[in-house]
Symmetry: C2
């Protein structure tokens, strides 16, 4: 375990505030108050408000990219790859619930890193869609519209941050399993 620096504290406190009101509505004074200091003091640890957002979003986006790379390179069925994607989202979200809110809702306020973020996101979605298409081709997955399948799965997974903090009693692995079941097998009896 690495020790949490003052900068890390500021970033995770900011993530919590950003989750509740969004990046634009949170002021440096709000953040300073939550940290128990004055706004000017924040600048001894971070370069700018923008710098905080970048730190929150980019590290999570890169974690998703690494996870997806592992999944596409794994030798297993496409259905099993989809289940691994569900686990990837559940685990990352469980570890950084507040940061996921910024990633979902405030990515457009990235400035210098916006293009980089969009490239990562686009690659991720392309890989996701490829797995679904391969699954349909291999007759593992019903021959439905692959875009609708990805949209349905991905939006559910992206919204996990709203739901996971309320379900602390539920183990991450249990949640990933139940969610996989609902997303893949459907609900009809």
């Amino acid at each position: 375990m690495k020790l949490e620096t003052r900068k890390d504290e500021i970033i995770s406190t900011a993530a919590k505030l950003f989750k509740d009101k969004g990046y634009s509505a949170v002021t440096m004074r709000d953040l300073a108050t939550a940290m128990g200091m004055k706004a000017a003091s924040l600048y001894n640890h971070i370069a700018s408000k923008q710098d905080i957002l970048k730190n929150i979003i980019i590290s999570i986006a890169e974690t998703f990219t690494e996870g997806m790379t592992e999944i596409i390179n794994s030798e297993t069925s496409n259905i099993s790859k989809l289940k691994k994607i569900v686990s990837l989202h559940v685990n990352i979200t469980a570890q950084n619930t507040n940061g996921m809110a910024s990633l979902n809702n405030d990515w457009m306020h990235l400035e210098d890193q916006l293009d980089y973020y969009l490239r990562l996101r686009n690659e991720y979605e392309t890989n996701f869609l490829t797995i679904i298409k391969n699954g349909i081709h291999a007759s593992e997955i019903k021959s439905t519209n692959p875009e609708i399948v990805m949209f349905s799965m991905l939006t559910t997974l992206r919204s996990l941050y709203l739901w996971i903090p309320k379900k602390e009693d539920l183990d991450a692995n249990d949640l990933a399993e139940s969610l996989s079941e609902v997303l893949i097998e459907g609900i009809n009896k």
Copy 2:
């Protein structure tokens, strides 16, 4: 068809801007520029920035409430009620794509109307969950965790605004049908 007043124009232009950057990041000067006028002139038509947000969100929320009331009072199977909910979301989103973004992302910036909005949302989710629980009890729906089922369906439906504008070629009824299929029957072959 009622004629679109200047106030309506301002509200729908605002909704488009709010969709892209969020309520807090859009200034009255941005909105005025998009309308081809000066910021001060906006105030001849609307009372405040807050007033615009209220107009966007509350009318949509009330439309959802009306639709849900009709659905729970209809005499049909619970699976069929879920399909009607999917259609309700697809139709409302198709008619007001930009407004749905504000409803999803900027509801917390409602001030006077926040409690009212939250009450409507809570009632909606309670009714949704009741349908799922009734469906499980009537053996129409698999005996899974009803909260997970609602979460999965509702987050997909709430994210439709991100997806519908890209799929203008797809008819609203076709989309509702395909989406119902994926959400209810699953994707496993």
